[in-house]
């Protein structure tokens, strides 16, 4: 039972991302979108990247990151909305953290 997590809020402003991380399972996938893109620079992201040992897939929506002038990061894949649709059906369910 894999889950796709859509993260839409800044972890610098609210604790929704913390809640997301607390239920994150291996095989799950995270998509940073809207203000969730800011989380790339949050310390929670460092611990997430360390923790995952490669099983959790982390993505960011290119246009959302670029609009916010957020630099890319090697371990995070840049995707578009068509990819999010594909991910929706590659996983068993979707949770939106907003």
């Amino acid at each position: 039972m894999s889950t796709l997590h859509l993260v839409r809020q800044s972890a610098f402003a609210t604790n929704d991302f913390t809640q997301c991380l607390s239920v994150l399972d291996h095989q799950d996938t995270v998509v940073l979108m809207d203000d969730g893109c800011y989380n790339l620079k949050h310390s929670l992201m460092d611990s997430l990247l360390k923790r995952v040992d490669g099983t959790i897939n982390i993505n960011i929506i290119s246009s959302h990151a670029q609009a916010r002038a957020i630099e890319t990061m090697a371990k995070v894949s840049h995707i578009d909305m068509a990819d999010v649709v594909a991910l929706t059906f590659n996983h068993n369910k979707v949770i939106t953290w907003q």
């Binding site: 607390s22 068993n92 369910k93 979707v94 949770i95 939106t96």
Partner: protein, 132 residues
């Protein structure tokens, strides 16, 4: 229960039903009430629905609250109707309680306090998730 009914239940996919995550405190936003309305509607259609309380959502379960003191119609009282609607799975995140220095005294019975891993596993047993 007849054999046919048992088969019907057994034939349902393993991950089924709706999980609703409550993440907001009860008296400042309408999210708790809006989530409750969804839950009761699923219950009245005899669809499986489970309630999860996480983050500030755990404040919705705490005993001895009284919205009337701040002129709010207390929708929390309706939680006692869960049994009537066959809403049996009510989960609360232990870590969220601990962070907020809350003890496990709730205003409804049969609330299951779960560790983060158990909470995650319980969520995973559902087909769909909504979060308010």
């Amino acid at each position: 229960m007849t054999t046919i009914e048992q088969q019907t239940l057994a034939s349902l996919p393993k991950g089924f039903g709706l999980a609703i995550i409550n993440s907001k405190a009860p008296f400042s936003s309408n999210d708790g009430k809006d989530a409750l309305d969804v839950a009761l509607m699923f219950g009245s259609f005899e669809q499986k629905v489970s309630l999860f309380f996480q983050g500030d959502g755990v404040y919705q379960l705490i005993a001895n609250q009284d919205g009337r003191l701040v002129s709010i119609k207390d929708y929390l009282k309706t939680f006692s109707a869960f049994e009537f609607y066959d809403i049996e799975d009510i989960y609360v995140c232990q870590q969220s309680l601990v962070n907020r220095q809350l003890n496990e005294t709730f205003h409804i019975n049969d609330v299951q306090v779960l560790t983060s891993i158990e909470f995650s596993k319980a969520l995973n047993r559902h087909q769909h998730v909504l979060r308010f």
